[in-house]
Symmetry: C2
């Protein structure tokens, strides 16, 4: 049935969140069910999911505790970044065939209010980039580095989780601003990619470096002016031991600690921040919501000018979304981890 | 000999720094010697020391390691904030009888370059205030709270080391800005002073509170928006556990850790700063050197308007300066600790 919804597709597969993980999440936290395809009411659209995003921050929502976003509820469909194609519209803002991005369910079909999705322009870049370089990860890199990090020509920027969705963009924006850029990542494949493909000045494999602090010292002969922190823990302790006066530390993620059941202990940072008049600032991209257009516009321009490259790691099939998510914590992904649903 | 230097005074007592302390400093780190009174050359003045300042930051200079100011050298005269009276001038900027403030030696008489001292106006307030509310501690409170803390009407400000030279001013400036102010100090005498004399909304004696976190929670029913940190360590951990979204933490001092020989360990703060989009910023007052006039002017106005009170704890005699300094780490002082030299 050309142009319509075929019989075979008239099952809506959904992934439920059924168990809060203790430590590292595993497959038993997820359950695939099927349901009927819902129908849109006025002001709504029916979307067919094309891509879904798996992101480290979702681990935080799996705990039943206060954080910057509400916890996931048990036995409900998981939600996250989704790129969908409009298959039926009851909204004046969208027509069939439009691509949109929004925070929606892990399922084949979703109903979305016209106000909770944003139209994507497929002529700028593949629609999947709305989950990466032209989406939350790109904006996170953009605002975290530029607004908090305030990079200046010639400064040294270190980024951890450097080969991830955010880290790859942070390093490239820092290069655009004339900085020396040093990435920390978890495999030689990644560090080679950072240097050879993205133009990082140096990259360190923290898993194989015999002495991370020494390796960092060699890679940062003039010290560290900005540390964009995606990981936390021991890696961050090493970087922070090398900060310069007036260093800035945007805190974007702490993936090394997300699966910890207890509060992690470490060397106290305040004496160091005090001695070096340094600052550390936690943020989430939603703090910059009123400037998203500015960010997307600038990132899209850099893409067009070929100043920015992006990498995607694509897993096929909705049913493999849990595995893709779990893989984030093993450091499997180079670039943005997405799931191609259809 | 009226107007001149009498015979009896023609000895210049000096306090040398003779031993780097391990842990807490004691009297054996200091030595009193005598020398001849120096004579000023062109562009210089001879000062008779009236007051000298003992400050917690000096402990850092006693270690032989890199910090924001160079370490004290062994067997040299200790230096710090000094209020002196010009007794002989070879400078066009000063005449005999002027009072000045500067960073000079712990001794009865000093030679100062005309560029390294600032004239004090004794009609505004007693000259000793140039070491306290109208000096470095006042400016530290002013810039740390206003520039980094950015207090807004109705917010809750917690200050540790609240009864000290900086803390007393921080709390009062926060009250001027319409904040709820909670002080943490080490004796009932101090907490009573903060509430009864300085108008703090609440004050907690951390030595006797059975559960500091619980006491803080009661004193801060709407959470903590600004934590002005003078002490570090466990006290700070308790306060930081109660921060609100977008909290600001100016790091002014870490007196609880200054005598530690090893790096102190504590719960990692990054996850909390991240969750609450909070910031932590180390600073020293010298970062604001080009705005000192603004700060002194505003502090003097508040003094005149009786919006600001100050407390001084005065020890008599140059020979008692080491004891006064050591006392800082026992929490002996209420307000600014100074030594009256003559």
């Amino acid at each position: 049935m050309k142009g319509g919804i075929t019989l075979q597709e008239q099952i809506n597969r959904q992934i439920l969140f059924v168990k809060r993980p203790t430590g590292k999440p595993d497959e038993s936290c997820f359950k695939l069910i099927t349901s009927e395809i819902p129908r849109p009411t006025n002001g709504h659209v029916l979307l067919r999911t094309r891509f879904l995003s798996v992101d480290p921050y979702m681990r935080g929502r799996m705990n039943d505790r206060r954080s910057y976003v509400a916890p996931f509820q048990l036995n409900e469909v998981l939600t996250g970044g989704i790129v969908g194609e409009v298959v039926e519209s009851k909204s004046n803002n969208f027509v069939k065939g439009n691509f949109v991005v929004g925070n929606l369910g892990w399922q084949d079909y979703s109903i979305a209010n016209e106000k909770e999705v944003r139209k994507i322009e497929p002529e700028i870049a593949p629609v999947s980039t709305a989950l990466g370089v032209l989406g939350m990860p790109g904006l996170t890199a953009y605002f975290g580095l530029l607004d908090i990090g305030q990079p200046k020509q010639g400064e040294t920027v270190v980024v951890s989780g450097a080969a991830g969705a955010v880290g790859t963009i942070v390093g490239q924006i820092a290069k655009i601003h004339g900085c020396r850029v040093v990435g920390i990542a978890g495999s030689d494949k990644k560090t080679n990619y950072l240097i050879d493909e993205l133009g990082f000045d140096a990259a360190i494999n923290y898993r194989t470096a015999p002495n991370l602090r020494k390796a960092l010292k060699e890679a940062c002969p003039a010290g560290v002016d900005i540390y964009f922190d995606n990981v936390g823990g021991d890696i961050s302790d090493s970087v922070i031991s090398l900060i310069n006066k007036f260093a800035r530390i945007p805190l974007c993620g702490q993936i090394s600690l997300y699966n910890d059941e207890q509060v992690s202990m470490g060397p106290r940072l305040q004496p160091r921040l005090l001695t070096f008049s340094a600052s550390m600032q936690g943020f989430i991209v939603h703090n910059y919501e009123n400037r998203f257009d500015e960010g997307i516009c600038q990132l899209a321009n850099w893409l067009k000018e070929k100043k920015l490259k992006y990498a995607e790691n694509v897993v096929e099939g909705l049913e493999n979304a849990p595995t893709a998510f779990i893989g984030l914590f093993a450091g499997d992904n180079l670039g943005k981890q997405i799931v191609k649903v259809s």
